[in-house]
């Protein structure tokens, strides 16, 4: 009984705040985009629009979920559930500052879960039995798996600096200085790759351009659409938290370690607002230009930087202890 309660309460302790954060992040997005476009965002529903996410949530969950009769129901129902499940479970090994599961292979877990998210896009596009959804899903899948290549290689370089896949070691690694200062080209490419990985503008052709409808989630109605929506925003917040942990870790606060979470979350929110700023400013990439960017621009640089990160510590006898 005690085991059941603790196994139930512990995940909920991080999942519920993440979901609340996601809900208000949608509001921040609409307000930020609004102010950047010289208009106010939603400000009618609550004071300054604070109840807008509540209204959106209520609307989405009381609408009737529509299932196309020619769709494959098992996959159609399963994909949004899978998407949200993965987006929430991927927060498991993140040290905030103490992770729920201190995995020795935390980063590997993260990469494998992100790769698994591709399936939810693929199955939703396939199961919708609609050519727009299928084309949108295929393009989104190709984009996601392409950008995971650079994500993996950048992580490899950072692991070589840090000494292991465990995310807590990144705290120790960055006590003298942020990894942003030593690996700033990698951080730039990592930030852009996370933009592409979460299908955000200017890489959002799976949502925006595919015939002006939502691409792979065009056939989804209310509840399942809300699940995709929440999964996407939870993904964005998770990627930004990961960026902060990897490159901007606030572990240098030794006198007041209680401020770790505050510092982490502030940096994460600044990076997320950067995502929104980029969305408001840049037009969308064409699909082949996006692929070109990765395979012909990012990948050679990341491979070269990985080589540098391998050889430089060895040359200066500065390899970290590999745990």
């Amino acid at each position: 009984m005690k085991a059941l309660l603790s196994n139930l309460m512990s995940p909920l302790m991080y999942m519920i705040p993440v979901l609340i954060a996601v809900a208000f992040f949608t509001l921040i997005e609409r307000k930020t985009l609004g102010y950047m476009q010289l208009r106010k965002g939603p400000n009618i529903v609550g004071p300054c629009g604070l109840l807008q996410p509540v209204a959106d949530g209520v609307k989405l969950f009381i609408k009737e979920p529509v299932y196309p009769s020619n769709s494959s129901t098992m996959l159609f129902t399963l994909s949004p559930i899978l998407a949200l499940l993965l987006s929430l479970s991927v927060w498991l090994p993140l040290p905030l500052p103490f992770p729920l599961a201190d995995l020795n292979l935390g980063l590997l877990f993260l990469i494998s879960m992100s790769s698994f998210m591709v399936y939810s896009i693929l199955w939703s596009g396939w199961a919708s039995n609609s050519k727009y959804a299928l084309v949108g899903a295929l393009r989104a899948v190709a984009q996601t798996i392409s950008y995971e290549v650079t994500l993996g290689i950048i992580l490899l370089s950072l692991i070589l600096f840090s000494g292991g896949f465990n995310m807590q070691t990144f705290m120790t690694t960055q006590e003298p200085a942020y990894l942003m200062f030593s690996s700033w080209p990698l951080m730039m490419m990592w930030y852009i790759s996370t933009l592409a990985e979460t299908n955000r503008a200017p890489f959002d052709l799976s949502e925006g351009e595919s015939e002006l409808v939502s691409g792979f989630n065009v056939e989804y109605a209310a509840g399942p659409f809300a699940l995709f929506f929440l999964a996407e925003y939870a993904n964005i917040l998770m990627m930004n938290t990961l960026t902060t942990i990897l490159f901007l870790n606030p572990s240098h606060i030794n006198n007041t370690p209680e401020l770790f979470s505050l510092s982490l979350v502030s940096k994460m929110m600044l990076l997320s607002v950067g995502f929104l700023w980029i969305r408001a400013s840049y037009p969308r990439f064409r699909y082949d230009q996006l692929m070109h960017l990765l395979w012909k621009n990012f990948l050679p640089i990341t491979l070269a930087m990985c080589l540098w990160h391998m050889s430089m510590p060895t040359a200066f006898s500065g390899l970290p202890p590999m745990l």
């Binding site: 052709l205 351009e209 400013s281 840049y282 037009p283 969308r284 990439f285 064409r286 699909y287 230009q289």
Partner: protein, 260 residues
Amino acid sequence: MNHAYIRPGGVAQDFPEGWNTSLQDDIPLLAKGIKELEDLLNENPIVKGRMVGIGILDLTGCMALGITGPMLRSAGLPYDLRKNAPYCGYEEFDFDVITWDTADAYGRLRVRIEEMKQSLRIVEQCISKLLDSPGPVMVADKKIAWPAQLSLGPDGQGNSLAHIREIMGESMEALIHHFKLVTEGFRVPPGQVYVAVESAKGELGCHLVSDGGTRPYRAHFRDPGFNNLQAVAAVVEGGNVADAIVAVASIDPVMGGVDR
């Protein structure tokens, strides 16, 4: 401010109080906004990647399809009806006709943004000209003139009470004129006319044929969007679907005019 402001004989009503100060306050804001747009768009690699070399329609193609407006000017021909066939006093204003040499979507973007700046120049010259010599608001002949002294009434719209009192209470002439104008209109001598203006999308023309009555025998509007849209087939040939979207957007049709 809608299209009924410009009516036969002049304009509907005079400017409100303080029009020139509020305009002169807004012009620097607009100039700043245009500068911000330019900084954001002109050298942006994503914009250039999406628009350079897309939707090319060179000068022969434009002439064959009857394209006017920024599309034609992006192909290099400095054809602007405000200079070639001036109307409404445009010959007295000093502005440049913007052309670009690559006939692609990027050229049309640059042409349109530069034209915005030229429009601001024209507005400034208009303000000084109107302040010097205001001129009449509506022609004096009461049988044609249909002025409107609009003000907000209790229902939020409509003619001012003074105007209504004049029509209904004071002057029989005004009542008769108003009645005849609203129900019948005025007679136009028989004949036909085609007049074109340079609108933002191209040449907007009006062809009117009159048989001497109060209604036109035929009225046809040459909408620039309709003619420019015929270029879609020529412009998207050989390109990607994503390029088709950019190309059609650079043609900039107004679908309401196309339907017309």
